[in-house]
């Protein structure tokens, strides 16, 4: 099964995982890493690498980060670009993205789950009025 690591500023990663547990229950192969204000990017890279090792069962790892270009992204991207492990980094992690990955990841490839994450992350953002208009017109 593809491993999942969530890397965020502050407590967001732990909060997201806590929320996801309420919707899909607890699962193996998930880890979180938090950036604290005193952290160096190099120290963050080490902690992300440790988390990747922990969840990697041989099928690859998805690293979900909060903000494109920010330190959680940069640290994860540098690890991915070093090329030591089979991983992809996706920014803009959200609850819709995370829960969809959690329900679909059994038996799916890393490449397929990247598409699942992108679609769930995008389709999770919508307004009530657009949704109502579509169903009533």
């Amino acid at each position: 099964m593809v491993g999942i690591v969530i890397v965020s500023h502050g407590d967001m990663a732990d909060g997201l995982l806590d929320a996801a547990h309420m919707i899909v229950g607890e699962q193996e192969g998930l880890a979180t890493v938090s950036l604290r204000e005193m952290d160096a990017v190099e120290g963050l890279m080490e902690r992300v690498a440790t988390a990747i090792e922990k969840v990697d069962a041989g099928d690859g790892v998805l690293v979900l980060v909060d903000l494109f270009g920010a330190s959680p992204f940069n640290a994860s991207a540098r690890l991915a670009m070093q090329g030591d492990s089979n991983m992809e980094v996706i920014s803009g992690v959200s609850l819709p993205m995370l829960v969809e990955l959690m329900v679909q990841r059994e038996g799916e490839s890393l490449e397929k789950l990247v598409q699942v994450a992108l679609e769930a992350g995008t389709s999770g953002v919508r307004t009530l009025s657009q949704t109502l208009n579509r169903t009533t017109s």
Partner: protein
């Protein structure tokens, strides 16, 4: 004045820069300058990839950064310089950059450094560089985000690390 802001930040381009500082200034050009970073192709590729919309990113050695900022090409740009350590700031000035203010951003713990705050740890060599900058009349500030006070930070360094500052 083309160079709007000069910041020493170990994290280089990251969330605070892309969100808060980019909203404060209309940044046209982010120049990341540090000789080691400029010589690391992986970091150069990544830094250029995270350029905010409407801005370009260059990763240059200290010498090339100063040469660029003093060239006519820089005249019509709002430039935001990010270096890594106080020593880079001193090197920029010694190389000929006109820098009235040096802002300290994130300075994470490294071996031998001492704590000034949760976000700022300085080495002896870093403090000596700040002292040299202060003595050249350059104002040292310590603002993580734009709303932080732009008060003179050197007295704090002197007070907290007198063993290195005096």
């Amino acid at each position: 004045m083309p160079v709007m802001h000069v910041r020493m930040d170990n994290r280089l381009i990251h969330g605070q820069i892309l969100v808060s500082w980019n909203a404060e200034f209309k940044i046209h050009h982010i120049i990341v300058t540090n000789d080691q970073v400029a010589a690391d192709p992986l970091q150069v590729t990544l830094l250029k990839a995270v350029a905010p919309i409407g801005a370009t990113v260059s990763v240059l050695s200290i010498k090339d950064c100063v040469a660029y900022c003093n060239s006519p090409a820089a005249d019509n740009e709002n430039i935001f310089i990010i270096a890594k350590f106080p020593e880079d700031g001193l090197a920029l000035v010694e190389e000929g950059l006109d820098m009235p203010v040096l802002n300290l951003g994130n300075q994470a713990y490294v071996r031998g450094s001492k704590k000034l705050s949760n976000t700022v740890y300085l080495t002896e060599s870093g403090v000596k560089a700040l002292k040299a900058l202060h003595e050249k009349g350059i104002r040292i500030t310590c603002r993580m985000m734009p709303p932080d006070p732009d008060s003179e930070y050197w007295p704090t360094v002197e007070k907290k690390l007198p063993e290195w500052a005096t």
